[in-house]
Amino acid sequence: MGMPITYTEQELVAALKERNNQAFAFLYDHYAGALYSIIRQIITDNSELAGDVLQEVFINIWRKIESYDQTKGRLFTWMLNIARNASIDTLRSKSYQNSQKNQELPENVYKGASNQTTQQNVDNIGLKKVLEKLKPEHRVLVELAYFKGYTHEEIAGMMTIPLGTVKTRIRNALLQLREYLK
């Protein structure tokens, strides 16, 4: 494949905005694993579907690269959010819901929160691994908000906790998460 190409983030973004295929190949080689990881943390039970979502995510990156604004955050942050949103959309799609008929999502979450052993192998990657270090009542909220895509209002209704409490707990959980990431 010739000489390895390296880019600074500035150069990479500029090349991506020019729709340079080589830059997209580089982007894939460097970030597909990290993005696939977050997809697998959301779509936990279907690696084929997760692969399709990964492809969709990169195509979306190609399509939307013009709208990426460096002043609002790093390229990876932007891509991570695209991957997370695409995964949650897939999770909520009718076809996925139909394939999951027998399982109620919130119940699943409770199980996940109280009984880690069942899905340990698949679940125990990425941010979810860090979540284990949080207190259970915090962990559930981050799980619902970040990995299932529920709004704070929905969570408050679901858990019968005041909205302000949901917000504070999630913020505190994220601050703790930050400490673990350091």
Binding site: G33, S37, Q55, I125, G126, Y146
Partner: protein, 252 residues
């Protein structure tokens, strides 16, 4: 609000991880414009998140990369250049078609105009001809008109013509019935015979049969004669070539 408190509220993590609400996001972006330290804090969290995510990377299915690269090549080819090319082609074709139609319209309307003009002038000429014919018909059938039957001479036994002479108006009309065609350097000439003198009434060709020609007028005539003369006529008839002669009834 105190910046330290703001940072300690968890807003940075909430924003970066996509969990902040719309108004929180807008406020945070506004704060970032004002406070470079906030941007710096955000960057640090983003970097640690990225580093951790990379550390925790999971190898994706092998075929996804090839599918993705194939898809962007397809999208690239089908997107801008070709569609603009097609658009240009369609636009150019439309312009050519429009110009073609304008030219065609112009030509057709011009032809139409020409035809209308031709039609009108033909109509005018037909009207004039009808008026003239009416006049001639009236005149030759009028009470003062003498019909002179010109008969062939020995050298031209078949030559025949009628002269209509209106003594009131002096008009002379010649109906050519059967006169042999002449070489191009010769013409027929009509004469009026008045008191043994010959008066020139004009020359004519006989290319068409059964046509009426208006000749020069004459007040008097005892007889009419037709001779063959050189083209343009002669001051005196060449009597050797006398083709046809007819006497008026009046003088007979």
């Amino acid at each position: 609000m105190n910046l330290k408190e703001y940072i300690a509220s968890g807003i940075i993590e909430s924003y970066v991880m996509g969990l902040a609400g719309d108004s929180e996001r807008a406020e945070f972006e506004q704060m970032c414009v004002q406070y470079p330290e906030l941007v710096e804090e955000r960057r640090r969290f983003e970097e640690s998140l990225e580093a951790y995510a990379s550390e925790q990377a999971v190898r994706p299915p092998m075929e996804v990369k090839a599918k993705f690269l194939k898809a962007i090549i397809t999208m690239e080819n089908s997107k801008s250049p070709r569609s603009i090319g097609l658009l240009r082609f369609v636009a150019a074709a439309a312009v050519i078609l429009l110009v073609g139609m304008v030219v065609l319209y112009y030509q057709v309307s011009q032809q139409n105009k020409d035809l209308t003009n031709t039609n009108k002038s033909l109509g005018d000429r037909l009207n004039q001809a009808e008026v003239a014919l009416d006049k001639v018909t009236q005149e030759i059938s009028g009470p003062s008109t003498t019909v002179v039957n010109m008969v062939g001479t020995k050298i031209a036994p078949k030559a025949s013509a009628n002269v209509y002479w209106d003594s009131a108006s002096s008009h002379v009309y010649l109906l050519v019935k059967n006169m042999p065609e002449l070489p191009s350097n010769e013409q027929y000439q009509l004469w009026a015979l008045i008191d043994n003198k010959q008066k020139n009434l004009g020359v004519f060709d006989a290319k068409d049969k059964n046509i009426i020609l208006q000749m020069d007028s004459t007040r008097k005539a005892q007889a009419f004669a037709i001779t063959i003369e050189k083209k343009g006529g002669s001051p005196h008839p060449t009597l050797d070539s006398l083709q046809s002669i007819g006497k008026t009834q009046l003088t007979q």
